[in-house]
């Protein structure tokens, strides 16, 4: 009967734990702050609370004696939070780079059914129709703000290992491209001149590939090209080389066709007019999306994979860390069994004992979470990496350790600390006073 009761008690504890964790993951910052304030009030104002506080103080003051064991909790949790935050920061950085590339007031037109520019073809007469469609903004000279573009993949040696070639996207752009994307700024040299085999290089591509310095010559598709400038855009265009549309098309024997048309809309609301006009035009068979949607979609797949992998690895590591914390706290409770029993004998109740051990573990966990998050931020914030994008060429992006991610990491740390502390705490409270007092 006794065993049965204890079993049911543990089962109840597990159910409670699951519910608490479920709620915990959903809690926004203000609610957590409110909970913290409530806890502080309880600790400071009630009798039980003050008891808890004094028991906790005893526990914390003995921490230096258990330095090795306590550091298992701190470092274990720091590892979990570090890996989790780094993986999520990678996904977030990739997503942010692509999402920034798009906006709601520019639209991209591709041949129907092409998921990426690389697969699309638009003929010359189609391009003219698209550029003159209603809803397209016009520049000061009355010309539509539209750029028919061609996007090919070139093979260039990487900077860190010149024996390895990687794909880089070479974009042939029209004259309006600069007005279309005002965030693209020349930071070195000058723009290419239409009609010449000149290139400007994005700062990301400049970092990744060898031989792209301003003034250098390189061979693309059998022709000599000169790099005349470097540009910065802060988005995925940073990974590209830009040249004149007509020149790129003739070099790659594309005739008068293009692959995509990007237009500036008169206003974000004009998108529906623009789309309706193109979709209903019997001469065209095209897909029209805002560039924001287009680039968000490109980041979807990889971001999802990174998230799944990151969370799977995080969960497995968290399980390991929980058992590490359990181990440490059980040992801590065992070594303080007499002390705890004495407290209970002189009138302390179960709640202060349970809460104080929980507090101690969560304090260590918080320390681990902060440490892990800080180290990750130190190493990985702004760390540059690259991968194959949907246009079959390298996309350079930066890891982004955002405050939200750090907050997620701390939440994980607190959850691990909570589980790791709960069972030892309950055991400490349940220990029969007389047995514990007799123990050596």
């Amino acid at each position: 009967m006794h065993k049965f009761l204890s079993f049911m008690g543990n089962l109840g504890l597990l159910v409670l734990l699951a519910v608490v964790l479920l709620i915990w993951t959903q809690l926004p910052l203000p609610v957590v702050a409110a909970l913290g304030v409530l806890l502080a009030l309880w600790l400071g104002l009630t009798r039980r609370g003050r008891q808890t506080l004094s028991v906790t103080r005893v526990g914390v003051s003995t921490l230096p004696q258990r330095l090795g064991a306590s550091s298992v909790i701190v470092i274990g949790i720091a590892g979990v939070v570090g890996v989790l935050v780094a993986m999520l920061a990678m996904g977030e950085g990739f997503q942010a780079t692509l999402q920034q590339t798009g906006s709601n007031d520019t639209a991209i037109v591709l041949r129907g059914g092409s998921a990426a520019e690389l697969n699309s073809v638009l003929e010359r007469d189609n391009i003219a129709v698209i550029e003159e469609a209603p809803g397209v903004a016009r520049g000061a000279d009355g010309k539509p703000l539209a750029s028919a573009e061609i996007s090919v993949v070139a093979n260039l040696p990487k900077k860190d290992d010149p024996t390895v070639d990687a794909n880089v996207q070479l974009r042939g752009v029209g004259e309006e491209a600069w007005a279309l994307r005002p965030n693209v700024k020349i930071i070195q040299g000058r723009r290419f001149k239409p009609g010449l085999r000149e290139l400007v290089v994005g700062q990301g591509a400049m970092r990744q590939f060898a031989g792209l310095e301003v003034g250098r010559q390189l061979r693309l598709a059998g022709q000599e090209w000169t790099v005349v400038g470097e540009f910065a855009s802060g988005d995925s265009h940073d990974s590209e080389l830009w040249g004149d549309m007509q020149t790129v098309a003739s070099t790659y024997r594309r005739g008068s066709s293009a692959q995509s048309v990007t237009v500036r809309l008169a206003s974000p609301q004009a998108f529906n007019t623009f789309k309706a006009a193109l979709v209903s035009d019997p001469r065209l068979k095209v897909d029209v999306t805002t560039t924001r949607e287009y680039f968000s979609k490109q980041s979807e797949g990889l971001t999802k994979v990174i998230r799944i992998v990151g969370i799977t690895v995080g969960v497995i590591m968290a399980i390991g860390a929980i058992f590490g914390a359990l181990n440490t706290m059980f040992a801590a409770v065992a070594s303080r069994a007499r002390e705890i029993a004495t407290l209970r004998a002189i009138g302390f109740r179960g709640v202060p004992v349970v809460v104080s051990i929980l507090l101690e573990t969560m304090l260590l966990a918080l320390l681990g979470g902060v440490l892990g998050g800080f180290i990750t931020w130190l190493i990985f914030n702004g760390y540059t990496a690259s991968t194959l994008g949907s246009n079959f060429s390298q996309v350079v992006f930066q890891f982004k350790v955002s405050p939200q991610l750090l907050w997620t990491g701390i939440k994980w740390a607190m959850a691990i600390g909570f589980i790791g502390g709960l069972f030892p705490a309950v055991r400490a409270a349940r220990l029969p006073v007389t047995t514990a007092l007799r123990e050596l």
């Binding site: 993949v153 994979v305 799977t312 590490g324 181990n327 440490t328 059980f330």
Partner: protein
């Protein structure tokens, strides 16, 4: 060996602690098993021994540039080339853009150049004689439940047919098997006839994506690839010929440095693990101070006490590690299935097991050394007195 029961008893002296430590070790090696499997899968393309006699000739400027048909007979004429096959990227999707199918339009002799793709003679005959026929890999067939005789509509993301439709219908005429040791991913190809593709598609005419050159002697790979590239030098379709391993390795590298990510994670995991088990072992020895002193009193030598503690820690690691790696081997197919094909986790290979066991022994020795030294240096009198 005769002390095994003693070590075993010491290991399970504190069941809770040993159990908790074991779970931590299990999770660490579970993670190791899965991540190392991913890493080896990425490496396998460049290490596979099957196909050392094949070179890949593609455009030097970029993978999306195609090559003229005229090169075929010229490459075949290069001394040392036994056979030339060619293929073109089809870019097929099935019903939804998420269901990407690795589909190539291939030359009639493609299957001869890839002997590790095994197709029964009857199905081979059917493939050769069916214009719209296709042969598919076993994994692909299983994924969508395709059978021989099915008519499968694939959409090409790149090539519309002459009538403007992007949907191509194929008859599945064969499902091949893959010889062991073949490169990863070969079991999920969708191969269709280049001839049908070339005649029916709107754009590319008589163009090949890449050539596969089979060598008479793999040792000549270097000079043959130079000779092939010399054929097109200074033309508008210069080529780059490399071994198939180098070709696939360059793809894996472009995806990102998987090896670096994996070793960074494993570094964090094992650092924590060493700390954790080290702490456990230190506790275990500290608790047993008086017992160890008794052992020494009744005549156990310093060396045997040292090795007993070391073996205990190695045993702990091995126990947890083997369970963890075993779990990884069991779970890997489940994870692949659960992710809906997004993540294809291969099973734990022999090299991963070997590396894993080596790591277990190494970590066991590392964490055991300090406590074992402590145990060895115990002064019997002090230890018995509890000082």
């Amino acid at each position: 060996m005769k002390y095994l029961h003693l070590i075993w008893a010491a290991l399970f002296r504190r069941k809770t602690r040993t159990f908790l430590t074991l779970v931590s070790i299990i999770t660490a090696f579970l993670l190791f098993g899965m991540l190392d499997a991913v890493r080896t899968a990425f490496d396998s393309g460049s290490k596979s021994l099957v196909g050392v006699d094949r070179l890949v000739t593609s455009s030097r400027y970029s993978i999306i540039q195609s090559l003229p048909q005229a090169l075929l007979s010229r490459i075949a004429g290069v001394p040392g080339v036994r056979d030339v096959a060619y293929a073109n990227w089809f870019g097929g999707i099935y019903q939804d853009p998420k269901n990407f199918v690795f589909s190539y339009a291939v030359s009639p002799n493609y299957l001869d150049v890839y002997p590790e793709i095994r197709l029964s003679a009857a199905q081979r005959k059917a493939f050769d004689s069916t214009r719209t026929g296709a042969v598919i890999g076993p994994t692909l067939a299983k994924k969508y439940g395709w059978k021989v005789g099915d008519k499968i509509p694939l959409q090409s993301t790149i090539f519309p047919q002459k009538n403007g439709s992007k949907t191509w219908a194929f008859d599945i005429v064969g499902i091949y098997t893959v010889a062991p040791g073949a490169a990863n991913g070969l079991d999920q190809l969708f191969l269709l006839h280049w001839k049908y593709f070339d005649e029916a598609n709107l754009y590319a005419s008589h163009q090949m994506g890449w050539y596969i050159d089979r060598l008479s002697n793999p040792a000549q790979a270097d000079q043959v690839s130079k000779a092939i590239d010399a054929l097109s030098q200074n033309s508008d379709h210069e080529t780059k010929t490399q071994t198939e391993q180098a070709f696939s390795a360059s793809f894996a590298k472009q995806l990102g440095d998987i090896g670096l990510i994996v070793s960074a994670i494993m570094g964090a995991v094992f650092f924590t693990l060493i700390l954790l088990t080290g702490n456990t072992m230190a506790q275990a020895v500290r608790e047993r101070t008086s017992e160890l002193a008794v052992l020494k009193t009744i005549g156990f030598s310093n060396r045997s006490v040292l090795s007993m503690v070391l073996v205990e820690s190695v045993l702990l690691l091995l126990l947890g590690g083997v369970i963890g790696l075993g779990l990884a081997a069991l779970l890997a197919p489940g994870v692949s299935k659960g992710s809906g094909g997004m993540i294809n986790l291969p099973s734990v290979g022999v090299t991963s097991w070997a590396l894993g066991v080596a790591l277990m022994v190494l970590i066991g020795l590392v964490v055991g050394t300090l406590p074992a030294m402590r145990a060895m240096r115990l002064n019997i009198v002090d230890a018995l007195a509890g000082r």
